[in-house]
């Protein structure tokens, strides 16, 4: 397998000198982030870690086109983003399941609005991949938080999105369930290796999943450091990886960078 760092695949997502300023009515403008420049290479997982309020989630909104940047440009596939993109898989900490639809109908939603004919089969297939084939007819309130997030994973992958934007998708789960879902996510991701831009403040999660970790400064968020994670794929399960010496080196390197920023925030 070729080394990622030597052949430099083309950039799938490119942010160039992006700045975001919020101008709330009757209050001082807030600079959420500035001078943000980085690339997400095709087929890789890039994770942004940083203190709360450093504009991480906002960056995802900008890449999806839900929000325009105040300055700078965002490109996907070499084309500037200038409106809501419909080829994006988006995941949040909250599951976003529609409570009036069953699990399988939730997975079908994206396929339905795209007019995919065999959506029932595709949805069933994805539910099976996330281990929920027996829960297809269940409504949201009949599923545990972990199961809801599995539905969200299935729903996100079912539309075969061009890019995946993950905003702390496992942040609301208890720590055991989170480990299971991180593993599940990577397992599913390995099958087609979509490009992923991930946001978290869980360092273990960032290292376990990513090819590159971007450390953001405190608000206004800027790129503090870009750390390549040269751990072989497929990755070891998170619990095993966490005790590997390479892992600990990377962890302490990122934590050193992050610590100062979090401290400023305190």
């Amino acid at each position: 397998m070729p080394d990622v760092s030597t052949i430099a695949p083309r950039a799938k997502i490119r942010l160039d000198d992006v700045g975001i300023v919020f101008r709330p009515r009757d209050r001082e403008p807030v600079v959420a982030c500035r001078d943000v420049t980085f690339e997400v290479p095709e087929g890789s997982i890039v994770t942004i870690v940083g203190p709360s309020g450093c504009g991480k989630s906002t960056l995802l909104n900008i890449v999806s086109g839900l929000m325009p940047p105040s300055r700078g440009t965002v490109e996907v596939d070499g084309r500037r983003v200038d409106g809501i993109r419909h080829d994006v898989g988006y995941m949040f900490a909250r599951d976003g399941m529609m409570p009036w639809r069953t699990a399988i109908q939730n997975v079908e939603f994206g396929l339905e609005v795209r007019g995919v004919a065999n959506r029932r089969e595709i949805a069933r297939d994805w539910l099976r991949k996330v281990g929920l084939d027996k829960f297809d007819g269940h409504y949201r309130h009949e599923l545990s938080q972990g199961m809801r997030q599995r539905v969200a994973v299935a729903r996100t992958f079912a539309i075969e999105p061009n890019i995946l934007l993950m905003d702390e998708p496992f942040g609301a789960l208890d720590s055991q369930t989170r480990l299971l879902l991180q593993e599940l996510f990577l397992e599913v991701w390995e099958k087609n290796r979509r490009t992923v831009l991930f946001v978290t403040h869980d360092l273990h999660e960032a290292i376990f999943l990513s090819d590159v970790v971007i450390v953001s400064t405190n608000r206004p968020g800027r790129v503090k450091s870009i750390v390549p994670i040269n751990l072989p794929r497929p990755r070891l399960p998170p619990a095993e990886l966490a005790v590997a010496p390479e892992f600990r080196d990377i962890y302490s390197r990122i934590w050193t960078d992050l610590k100062d920023e979090v401290r400023k925030f305190e």
């Binding site: 809501i84 994006v88 976003g96 069953t102 939603f109 609005v113 795209r114 309130h141 539309i159």
Partner: protein
């Protein structure tokens, strides 16, 4: 293990069945007691039957109205008027609510006007409506409309504005059009609110129709009540009232059935 489970289930079933039977029996006793006191106070001459009638007289009058075929005609008229009013007013109210939810500008323009109209005691409009539309079906439907339309408008708007933001964002980035958002997100999400409105609306449809019938009509349950009172036939008034409450109870029972069916995804409804 199996034994314990069966025993548990047995205890639970017994515990649930007994109170229910006791409630039903107590309910029947309360009703019987009221009727007995009513009948006794008239029979002993404590109160004059001219003013309060009596259970025996009411049953006789009910029977006379049923046997002569008068009652079924009046009930049919009232039910038809109320249903027309309900369907038309709810339909338009829901559509208006969804439209306003899509247009913040018009929502802001119309909000105080809707509030003012909705605060007006609509029954006060009935004389004017009768003046305009006469004593036929239209006047009854319009009277009920002034009540029900706003209930559905306000509830639908409230529900449509309360759609979960995460769901909206996810639907949008997955490629949902405005139309998809309206019918596959906003509408189902507002459905519990709409149903709360429909439940009220059904009751108010009947209210509007009855008020209009009492004020000016020559048929319908409201007319039975008003004309009986005008001829000092208190037994006739009670017969009309009892029929009316049966109709109203049937309406809400049907509504609850439909609601449970359509909102079975709601945790509170499925567990109840």
């Amino acid at each position: 293990m199996a034994d314990i489970a069966t025993v548990d289930a047995g205890i639970e079933a017994g515990a649930q069945e007994n109170p229910r039977r006791r409630v039903l029996m107590a309910r029947a006793l309360v009703l019987a007691a009221i009727l007995a006191v009513w009948q006794a106070s008239v029979s002993t001459g404590l109160v004059d039957a001219f003013w309060v009638s009596s259970p025996v007289l009411v049953v006789a009058e009910l029977w006379r109205l049923i046997a002569s075929g008068e009652l079924i005609g009046d009930v049919t008229i009232t039910v038809i008027e109320a249903l027309i009013a309900f369907v038309v007013s709810s339909g338009l109210g829901i559509v208006a609510g969804l439209l306003l939810a899509r247009s913040p500008f018009w929502d802001e323009v119309l909000a105080p006007i809707v509030l003012a109209l909705n605060s007006l005691p609509r029954v006060a409009l009935a004389p004017l409506i009768i003046l305009w539309f006469g004593i036929g079906v239209v006047a009854k439907v319009v009277t009920a409309f002034t009540l029900v339309f706003f209930i559905l408008l306000v509830n639908t708007l409230g529900g449509a504005k309360n759609v979960d933001n995460d769901i909206l964002t996810i639907a949008r980035v997955m490629g949902a059009s405005d139309r998809d958002i309206l019918w596959k997100v906003t509408f189902p999400s507002a459905l519990p609110w709409i149903f709360a409105g429909l439940n009220l609306g059904l009751t108010y449809s009947l209210l509007g129709v009855i008020v209009a019938e009492i004020l000016a009509s020559n048929q319908g349950l409201g007319y039975v009540i008003a004309s009986s009172a005008a001829t000092f036939n208190t037994a006739g008034v009670f017969a009309g009232l009892i029929t009316l409450s049966v109709v109203a109870s049937l309406f809400s029972a049907i509504m609850r059935k439909v609601e449970t069916r359509l909102l079975r995804w709601k945790p509170s409804l499925t567990s109840a």
